[in-house]
Amino acid sequence: MKNRIMAHMVAFYPSREKSLETARALIDGGCTYLEVQFPFSDPTADGPYIQEACKQALEKGFKISGGFELIGDIRTFSNIPIFIMCYANTIFYYGIEQFLECCVSGQVQGLIVPDLPVDYDEGLFEKSECRGLEPVPVIAQSTKPDRLDMILKGRSEFVYAAIRKGITGSFTDIGEENIQFLTKVDSFGKKILAGFGISEKHQIEAISSWIHAAVVGTAFIKEIIHSGKASIYNVIKKKIQSLI
């Protein structure tokens, strides 16, 4: 069986056009889901690579409206399920309802907003669900059992499991602790999207029987940084193919 990948990318990184090229490469390379991060000035849950990518994307003129236009451009050549990842302030300040309406028009499938947890969500979960959007709760290995129950008893089809402590980007050695955690989460019957620190196929294979898809992000940014004169399309496509 092939590995399912939720491929993460930052809108407008390294530029608007090149982020479109990145999306195309990820899709052509065979990702199952596309996670498009809308950059924020203060990405507290991200490691240095995604931070830098967000900073550059903002310098390249990212605006929320531009992010939705980019998604519109992706829609001209692909029906891939798209999830938007953003920080609370991006959606809250724009207006949650308005933001969700843009998601509906852009045929976005769902949202991942790590700093709007279920009990401080500003209505995000309910407002998304009533529009047919999938709000994806994010859980961590440190999440206490009663809280896990509370989060996962919701209607959401997916759950995003951060399989390392801390932030995105650093390498995760898949160990007994990860497996125990995933087994526990698996018992709730949700589709598990597992991420934080995945860059190699062997990591995905170590957890593939518990998860629905592996989330890979920083690894692609590193490819872009090291691409030099090579085409971003080629390096990204090669990288994702190596994971599947």
Partner: protein, 409 residues
């Protein structure tokens, strides 16, 4: 308001953090509330505040300043006399003792002006805790002396280059560290902001300022018209105002950084400027944001006021009208430093110099039988380089040149 844990203040506050950090904050809330109910904890803290931090700090009648200003009596609460030179140590002692009680062995902190970092490094040295302080590269440049002190106390100072490389970015970096380290590490946040329970906890630990002032007012039977404090994140202000929040008087006045002007990136005035409701750094409050919700750059001559958000309780008190806010320019703060140095023999830190400047304006407008109290949240030694460069450039630069030459020989 008698409850020590509120979470929200009107619309403001909350705990908007990623799930990874949730157990750390839940634990902190429980342990803090438990500690506050413990006589042992409170008496240990009181003892440290007295014997180590040097409390109580004096409330000084600024007689000469009063005469020159020709209006209300000006009193100054000398928080700058506490050990390490600012009010920051009140909160640091509280949280560091709490961290020990929770069995943590390592402390991380963010710092802007470096005063919170210095207080944290000092208390960690005293209590035998490992200490890492995150500090923006821009702030390291302008508050170099404090980096030296932190390192002398044995702390590790980590430069932060991301974002604007100032206080907000140091907060981001500390939060990232904590997400991976909270099992053995406490994040000792330095102002009355961030996800709950920090705004409540920091206020309670800083309220010692206001309680001492309240006792003095009663003993000296002062007719106090206003209390004036500078507001960065808001910890000195909320601690100073705390006992008076639910009463009608005195007026409570917060001085924000007016910087160089009203343009984007020229100031850090959220309440007297154009702060907008947002969710940043784990709490909902008023922030300086662009039309897309991105956090805007800020400026202040004082690193400690150079922050785009304001603590949630002060934001709420501002909206309700209980606290008035005013903006004070860089140049006015510099004038206030010189004024109080010449007339009162006190060098204000640049942060409370904003409060000093606001008080100078106000005093002249009030009758002589009224009093106003300024919180001098810190003393100005840390600002030597900025002050000397601004006030006596030539002599200072030639001194620096000769210092470098002399050492190269």
């Amino acid at each position: 308001m008698d409850k020590i844990y509120n979470d929200f203040f009107g619309d403001f506050g909350g705990r908007y953090v990623a799930e990874v950090l949730r157990p750390a904050l839940d634990e902190l809330q429980d342990e803090w509330v438990d500690a506050m109910n413990s006589k042992d904890f409170r008496s240990e803290l009181d003892l440290m505040l007295t014997r180590f931090a040097g409390r109580p700090t004096p409330l000084m009648y600024a007689e000469n300043a009063t005469r020159v200003l020709g209006g209300a009596k000006v009193f100054i609460k000398l928080e700058g006399l506490s050990n390490t030179g600012a009010h920051k140590i009140n909160n640091v002692l509280g949280q560091a003792l709490l961290a020990k009680r929770m069995g943590k062995r390592r402390i991380i902190a963010e710092t802007g002006a470096g005063q919170h970092g210095v207080a944290t490094a000092s208390v960690c040295a005293k209590l035998g805790l490992e200490c890492t302080v995150y500090m923006g590269e821009v702030d390291i440049k302008r508050q170099r002396p404090n980096v030296f002190w932190m390192e002398l106390y044995g702390a590790k100072v980590v430069p932060v280059s991301g974002g604007q490389a100032t206080l907000k970015d140091a907060v981001n970096e500390a939060l990232r560290d904590w997400a991976g380290s909270f099992k053995d590490t406490h994040y000792l946040l330095g102002s009355a902001l961030g996800p709950s329970p920090y705004p409540d906890m920091v206020r309670e630990f800083q309220s010692v300022i206001g309680k001492e002032v309240q006792r003095e007012i009663e003993q000296q039977k002062l007719d106090v018209e206003a209390l004036v404090a500078c507001v960065g994140g808001g910890s000195n202000a909320i601690g100073f105002f705390h006992p008076f929040i639910d009463t009608e008087n005195p007026r409570l006045i917060g001085a924000e950084a007016g910087g160089k002007g009203k343009g984007v990136g020229e100031h850090a005035s959220r309440m007297s400027g154009e702060g907008k409701l947002g969710i940043v750094h784990g709490y909902k409050s008023l922030f300086l944001l662009d039309e897309d919700g991105q956090v805007q750059p800020t400026h202040s001559i004082s690193a400690g006021l150079d922050y785009p958000g304001i603590g949630p309780q002060l934001a709420n008190l501002g909206i309700k009208g209980r606290v008035e806010f005013t903006r004070v320019m860089d140049s006015e703060a510099l004038e206030a430093v010189q004024f109080f140095a010449k007339h009162e023999g006190l060098v204000f830190a640049l942060e409370p110099a904003h409060a000093g400047a606001a008080a100078m304006k106000l005093a002249g407008e009030l009758p002589q039988d009224k009093s106003i109290i300024v919180n001098m949240s810190g003393r100005g030694e840390k600002d030597l380089f900025i002050l000397a460069r601004s006030l006596d450039r030539q002599k200072w630069y030639s001194f620096l040149r000769s210092e470098v030459k002399g050492n190269e020989k």
